[in-house]
Symmetry: C2
Subunit: 384 residues, 2 copies
């Protein structure tokens, strides 16, 4: 590959925390120059938010993870001189992102209408919690709250359990990916027309789209999800779909004809069930499977199932995963350098281009690390 | 908005089921003409895969949901004449996607190297389960199996529960979104250089990237996730983060200082805990909160919490959600017409462009519905 696909494009990231910055990270992976515009002294609030109490240099490991391969420009948007500089940057950039609550950018004078006057070609991309209208517009756009409002928590976990949130920031991640899609589509168009665009995505609309299969089924049927009471994995699929305990771990069984499963594992109690009953008698069938599989090892069952081309895999934790040859063959890890001299290991961009894996050694910036460099480049560009 | 951003681009979708077709759906939402290349008689296998036993016309509701706003061209890739036509289509398209197992396109002669000769500008995008090397390369690339192998199932659910898969096809959805990002980035470049590109994404690499926060923490700490035993929502966050039962439903509490929570709900038992202990004494604190919140209604607690600007929301199911004014304000639903004359309700694209919501009334195609039209357009274009 001669050049990364977004090489030459400049993105100003006013976004904080995860949703917006995860979009910036992907744009950086794909070759864009991503400049974080951060308030002096404290910077992106994510610098101070650690998970698992992990820190690197002065910022959280979380911040380093999300913001590798970016530059930092410290500017106080409430200061006239700083704001004037930021406006010059805006005039010399292609994309900007923010995830402030509705009203914040308006107050500063950097809402889309004003920015469009500064730079008519700007792709202006913003993330909100719930859009800009309706009773939720000023509510906190936070991942767990969005999951909880959206119905998503009734799809995961077993039928007898309380609502179960997904154990990571799924709304943030999905929303960031939507923002990238909107930005890149707008860039494809603007290269032809010279027109900018205003892209808006919200956490809530993203998590609703994420459930599009389920919601369409709900619109048609009016049936709320019935999670199976044993080994639930998808409330609209029949047995054996799910995860089962074995004598030494767990095994995952995807869709497979019940009589083939019976033959593979030699479980005669399954003989009385027909394929037409795998949904209506799901719990009953799963109970039989669960009590049968627990008697032998994962390896034992896998051999029998895979021998008949049935879709089964072991259930692994990160320790087992990262030691596995299958994982190693993917070459998913990369080392990035931090300013303090410490290298950290993180994952790489999952997209391959022209048989190339995309890696970069550049770590997350120190707050304001690139002010001089960016101002120098700006001076050269506009001779001010 | 004058024109959708991908207007004028043609995408050939050889993909089946969810991951690849969800990418095609987003490209169609954004204005591309997406043509499904389907085998005669049976078509995309997803036509025959129903969830919740829901059907529309001759195909599953699931197929209709994923493939609205697309065209269908029926062609037998093993038939010389059909293959020649498909090659002509390839010469007149901008993007193609497939999610066949490694080796299938090679056998047909439509792997990237051959396609590149037919059309050097083609953006050739493919999805695999696990990439094309290593011991997993020929394993079934199925959502639940990928979740199970990737460590993801140990992040969701409470500490005492078995591994818990997410209750929808998260690997498929995330991977589809990665593919769109790769395709659009390649289009941005190819408009400048005239060069095509080979984009590859796998379900496994996508679900590893999805866990990038967690995996980076794991690389640094070597600590496997400790899900809290009560109300787990994120294994690396402290109390009260989670969902709690109330007298009449459930309430979600995001991050908030423990002393503010105490003051808001007037729970004196929380007085003995310090902010520094919200992680180490998480289960203990959550137990107190759980036994306290169950004594009154969701509405009661929300009033007290929101009064102090604390991040809390009710937990809703789809019935409650879709009746809520906040949901209605988002205008997330759209009606699409099916060939049989029946209109179905589904969700719309979550991306807004220039203040416009993107909707289309065009439903999923009948198998081969557009063969004549597409051949006619091709004849006009190439005068063959």
């Amino acid at each position: 590959m001669t050049m990364l696909p977004l090489h030459g494009l400049t993105v100003l990231e006013f976004s904080q925390y995860l949703s917006g910055p995860s979009a910036g990270l992907r744009l950086a992976d794909l070759g864009a120059k991503v400049i974080k515009i951060e308030r002096p002294v404290s910077g992106d609030a994510c610098r101070h938010l650690a998970i698992g109490d992990q820190w690197v240099d002065e910022s959280s490991l979380l911040f380093h993870t999300i913001n590798r391969n970016k530059q930092s420009f410290a500017a106080d948007l409430k200061d006239k001189k700083d704001l004037a500089l930021v406006k010059k940057l805006i005039q010399n950039s292609d994309v900007m992102t923010h995830n402030f609550r509705p009203g914040v950018m308006e107050k500063i004078g950097l809402e889309y209408e004003s920015v469009k006057k500064l730079n008519p070609k700007m792709i202006y991309a913003e993330i909100t919690g719930y859009g800009k209208e309706g009773p939720w517009k000023n509510k906190p756009g936070q991942d767990l709250l969005i999951q909880s409002l959206s119905g998503l928590t009734f799809t995961t976990g077993n039928g007898n359990s309380d609502p179960v949130p997904m154990g990571l920031a799924v709304a943030d991640m999905i929303c960031g990916a939507q923002l990238v899609q909107g930005i890149l589509a707008a860039l494809v168009k603007s290269q032809n027309t010279g027109e900018g665009a205003h892209i808006e995505v919200s956490l809530m609309e993203s998590i609703l789209d994420f459930q599009f299969e389920f919601l369409t089924t709900w619109f048609a049927s009016g049936c709320l999800p019935h999670r199976s009471h044993i080994s639930n994995a998808h409330s609209l699929l029949g047995a054996p779909y799910g995860i089962y305990q074995t004598a030494d771990g767990y095994i995952a069984l995807a869709m497979m004809p019940i009589h083939k499963l019976r033959a593979a594992i030699n479980c005669e109690s399954l003989a009385e069930y027909f394929e037409e009953e795998i949904f209506s008698k799901r719990d009953e069938i799963k109970k039989i499977i669960a009590s049968f599989l627990v008697k032998n090892t994962t390896e034992h069952w896998l051999e029998k199932l895979i021998g008949l081309d049935l879709w089964a895999m072991p259930v692994m934790n990160w320790d087992e995963l990262t030691k596995h040859e299958g994982y190693r063959a993917l070459d998913m890890e990369q080392l990035v350098d931090t300013d303090g001299g410490q290298a950290i290991t993180t994952t790489r961009c999952p997209i391959r281009i022209d048989e190339n894996i995309l890696k970069s050694k550049i770590g997350a910036p120190k707050l304001g690390q690139h002010n001089q460099q960016i101002l120098g480049e700006l001076k050269e560009k506009i001779h001010y």
